[in-house]
Symmetry: C2
Subunit: 309 residues, 2 copies
């Protein structure tokens, strides 16, 4: 194989109640990467468009993942070169680093014919996440690789459960152009949570998982609550509660902070409502001196996509 | 209708990871109660066998529930008399007070033809639970009334989700004859839990709910973990970890403390393994100077049962 072209999706981690354990893959936006075998051993990042990122492999999420895979193969002659086209803005909270990491793992696997299992691809991608955020959280990389909605059952051992995706589900995402570092968003959280809130949270996790198996949007609506992160992290996001309240008025099933923010996602049953939500988001943000982007997407049920020649 | 005879089941609350939100109904043991209309208004507890409990209605779980229902009907002429045969020992941790409360709610509903909805029966039964434990927890009364496995999605508003029960599931329960008051078992718990443990707990709740929808005993096995209550409450239960470890060796899917203890439950796929578990429990407790009872039961998928004439 000469060349592998990869489309690695944005993802929404947490899905409100599922802090650090739930994530969902989107079709839009997605990063593109092109992987080629290189006569020169090691990893070579030849081009990066769309973001200011280091081309030095050990300082780049894609580079780190590729180096880990090459190291795993213990073939010192192997070389990979890669072009990266970032469509998912770093720091947006919709899994930018996870898309890089997941795309790198899948791209290398196809290019080199290593036939790694999905759980191993996730493990390699986690190494990239670790570089980006200091911790290796799987709630973005798992759905990016597997598609659909993933539950991180446990980390030790790493166990991921693919949950059923609702047949008709759209996401509208607003990405306010402000910076919240994943590490800061993590540090604002309390290291301890009240038992009362924890019980409410896992009641909702159980209900949300149930809603997915039943394809019950009404139950999904009632389960999309977050008593742990949202009350604290929402302070960083201008007009967060206005977005939540107003988008529900135009038909949103529910939503909240995407990952650690600043993006806010709202789910809906069809394209028409998804577009109404986008319109309402725009109307609200028009009043603020902040740039923003809005994405409308269906769920990506296949994960990272690729072509090769 | 002259008389309603009720069989109200024991229940296992928490199911390890689902602290305060999950519960499962059993076929054995069950309390029996007989309800009759009385010419004398109010509630009259005429007989209690099997436990030392007050016959004064406002000091008895059955009495409290019946009084609440009579109050709700605002018919001051109505009278109910009830005989109570307690087969579920109070303080055993398998929902003794919940069986009384659930049986009372269902019994009165049938006797008086009030046609209350299950969610309202649960609300009345919660008043009985409040008398017994100081708090109105629904993880025993909900499955006692609905049967099968219940998830308490939220308390405000009260929302209960009936989860699918595995086709083949047996429970073996050992009830060591020691006293742990529900209130004490609650007070030993920390009011705050670490974020790390909370995340592990809701990862398992999501996985357990998933296991039930998939009827996947292997996933059920891996999800029956409790990082919140078990490490603290298990100190009250002699040989708790020996029971867990040894019962798994003879084929238990998993298990833990039933409710707030002291009963310990172990789940299995068939009667043969359920009996092996009972034998292993007996062998362990033979070494201890503590009396105990052992129950073997299938899941009760109908909840409180009744006959009338």
């Amino acid at each position: 194989m000469k060349e592998v072209q990869v489309y690695s999706p944005a993802t929404i981690a947490n899905l409100c109640c599922g802090f650090d354990v739930l994530g969902m893959a989107l079709n839009e936006p997605a990063d593109e990467m092109i992987f080629r075998k290189s006569p020169s051993p090691g990893v070579h990042i030849t081009k990066i468009l769309g973001a200011q990122l280091s081309k030095q492999p050990d300082k780049n999420v894609v580079g780190v993942v590729l180096e880990k895979i090459l190291h795993h193969l213990s073939n010192k002659k192997l070389g990979i070169e890669v072009e990266i086209y970032k469509n998912i803005k770093p720091g947006s909270g919709i899994g930018s680093s996870a898309a890089s990491a997941a795309g790198a793992a899948v791209g290398a696997n196809i290019l080199l014919g290593t036939n790694l299992k999905p759980i191993d691809l996730i493990k390699f991608a986690l190494e990239g996440e670790r570089l980006a955020s200091g911790t290796g959280h799987a709630d973005n990389v798992a759905p990016a690789i597997l598609g659909g909605i993933s539950l991180v059952k446990s980390y030790c051992p790493l166990e991921i459960i693919s949950l059923p995706s609702p047949k008709k589900l759209w996401a509208t995402i607003i990405h306010p152009d402000i910076e919240i570092k994943t590490l800061d968003a993590r540090q604002i959280l309390n290291k301890k949570v009240s038992m009362k809130d924890a019980v409410k949270q896992w009641g909702n996790v159980g209900a949300l998982v149930s809603a997915l198996y039943r394809d019950d949007v009404y139950l999904l609506n009632r389960s999309l609550e977050d008593f742990i992160a949202e009350p604290l992290r929402s302070i960083f996001i201008p007009a967060f509660y206005a977005l939540k309240i107003e988008c529900k008025k135009v038909g949103a099933i529910g939503g909240g902070i995407s990952g650690s923010g600043p993006s806010v996602f709202m789910l809906s049953k069809n394209k028409d409502i998804a577009e109404k939500i986008a319109k309402r988001m725009t109307e609200i943000y028009t009043f603020l001196p902040i740039k923003y982007r809005i994405y409308i997407s269906t769920i990506n049920n296949t994960g990272v996509k690729y072509n090769f020649k």
